[in-house]
């Protein structure tokens, strides 16, 4: 078995208001669908961990490589798309991970990047 990170990426707007969804109702439905998908992962035995992240504006970067640690405000990369949440799943191969990513993407209405963990 291999562990994969299924990371949801989206624009900054998706972290505010109704999160880039068409309506509040649509947002509620996406949350419910994502909850249901999480429960399916647990029932199927591929669940390791999952979580949604706060907006990139809440991020801080710590650089501890020098003599004194330096903290700066904001995300590490200046990009238009940010990671909004992720799953960690444990499945036999990439096809299985991609199949879960397809379901997760549909549930949360976002694009999902699939990457294997090292040493999996």
């Amino acid at each position: 078995m291999t562990e994969y990170l299924l990371a949801v990426h989206g624009p900054e707007e998706s972290f505010h208001g109704i999160g880039g969804y068409a309506s509040e109702q649509e947002m509620e439905q996406a949350f419910a669908d994502t909850d249901a998908f999480n429960n399916e992962l647990k029932a199927e035995g591929s669940w390791v961990f999952a979580g949604g992240l706060q907006a990139p504006s809440t991020a801080s970067v710590m650089d501890g490589t020098g003599e004194e640690p330096v903290v700066t405000d904001g995300p590490y990369l200046e990009t238009k798309e940010f990671i909004g949440g992720f799953w960690v799943v444990d499945v036999p191969d990439l096809d299985a991970a991609l199949a879960l990513a397809a379901r997760g993407s549909k549930a949360c209405r976002g694009k999902v990047e699939v990457r294997p963990f090292q040493g999996g």
Binding site: T2, P92, L94, L98, R115
Partner: protein, 406 residues
């Protein structure tokens, strides 16, 4: 001891023909493409040392696979890279015979679907397929696709690394996933065939090892998926195209379809291609490859170029354009229109197409302008065609046509 060159050549030819089978079987056994390739390379070295002395074994493919398998086990033991008990058990117990049919063919299909996995970049899919299944060297693949050898090597290495690290599975997809995955595989097979049929670069104009490999793999695919009409369509298209191979180059010069000696066409391949096209018609789920095959069936059905049923060809291109409304399809349709309604009508269509960077557009324009007697315009079009053409036989043909203009 210096070996006769022809022996080395013969061994390398056998190796290339067997490459896909050897690699596919080793990947199944050891689950690792790099180990499979290294072991296959060592088996080739062993064959080059021993066959000239001991003679070629009765089943060269089997010998190579067995030898490569032993070398792989030796290597794994030496390096102790794999302590996985399950894998070790498979290594020792697996000794499936090397046969031309059956499980081994399934191995090649597994490898084909692995090489064409949608998680790999499209250009990596074709390179991997040619390398692992076709047995082409990295310099050969780089030359075929006009990229630097180092670029091609990096592309292949990256793709193999992704297969291993992301665990792209080594299997034929299940029925539900098959239609989506099949399209990518058919595209790669068609590209391999086309590269063989009109090779780029300044080498041989036809590369039979590429067309042959594409046909072999498509046959294997068809044996697995007999009910998929696009697979049958692609095989028919390849067979009906390949049937004309011997008539297609004369004295180092490309001979276009209307000028070919139809007596030189391979009737056995044409018969098989026609039967496949009829099979597709009966299924009645037309697709791109089936329509292209049907167009080729019309051409190969005509005893002379003049007897070609051009209205049928145009009707088939109309159907194709409905599926694929690309300017390239429109260009090919215009070639048929020229026969039906004359070069003037066709030229009006061709000139409206935004294809100035496409080689075949210039060739088509040159031919239509020549037929209309517009020599100066035709000469410019032949120059443009030659500037974008790197197939040696086609260059020879275009140069002669240009020279004949008055």
């Amino acid at each position: 001891m210096v070996e006769p060159v022809e022996t080395t050549d013969a061994i390398e030819r056998v190796f290339r023909e067997e490459h896909g089978r050897i690699i596919a079987a080793l990947v199944r056994r050891f689950g690792d493409i790099d180990i499979a390739e290294e072991a296959a390379g060592e088996a080739l070295v062993a064959a080059l040392e021993r066959w000239p002395v001991e003679g070629v074994p009765p089943n060269p493919g089997g010998w190579l696979t067995t030898t490569a398998g032993r070398r792989a086990i030796d290597r794994l033991r030496r390096e102790q890279r794999r302590d996985d008990k399950h894998r070790a058990a498979r290594m020792i117990t697996d000794d499936e015979p090397h046969e031309r049919i059956g499980a081994v063919e399934d191995d090649r299909l597994r490898l084909l679907f692995t090489c064409c996995h949608p998680a790999l970049a499209p250009e990596a899919r074709i390179a991997l397929t040619l390398r692992l299944l076709g047995g082409l060297t990295v310099p050969e693949i780089a030359a075929a696709f006009l990229v630097q050898e180092t670029t091609m090597a990096a592309r292949i290495t990256r793709a193999k690394k992704k297969i291993a690290a992301a665990r792209i599975p080594y299997r034929v997809p299940e029925a539900a996933d098959l239609p989506g995955r099949l399209d990518g595989v058919l595209t790669v097979l068609f590209l391999v065939f086309n590269e063989g049929y009109l090779a780029s670069g300044d080498g041989a104009p036809l590369r039979e090892e590429l067309t042959g490999e594409a046909i072999r793999l498509t046959r294997v695919l068809r044996s697995l998926l007999p009910g998929e009409p696009e697979v049958a369509g692609l095989l028919a298209l390849m067979l009906l195209t390949d049937a004309r191979r011997a008539a297609r180059v004369r004295g180092g010069e490309l001979v276009p379809l209307p000028e070919q000696d139809r007596g030189g066409w391979d009737r056995t391949l044409i018969k098989e291609g026609h039967a496949l096209v009829r099979e597709c018609l009966a299924i009645d789920r037309p697709g791109r490859y089936q329509l292209l095959a049907a167009i080729n069936a019309v051409h190969t059905d005509a005893p002379t170029a003049r007897d070609t049923d051009w209205s049928q060809v145009v009707a088939l291109y109309d159907q194709l354009a409905a599926i694929d409304p690309s300017p390239v399809v429109a260009l090919n349709r215009a070639v048929a229109i020229a026969e039906l309604d004359g070069p003037e009508v066709a030229l009006a269509v061709v000139d409206r197409l935004d294809l100035a960077t496409y080689h075949a557009w210039h060739v088509t324009r040159a031919d239509l302008l020549r037929r209309l007697g517009r020599s100066a315009d035709a000469r410019a079009a032949y120059d443009a065609a030659l500037a974008t053409c790197d197939n040696t036989a086609e260059r020879a043909y275009l140069s002669r046509k240009r020279g004949e203009l008055v």
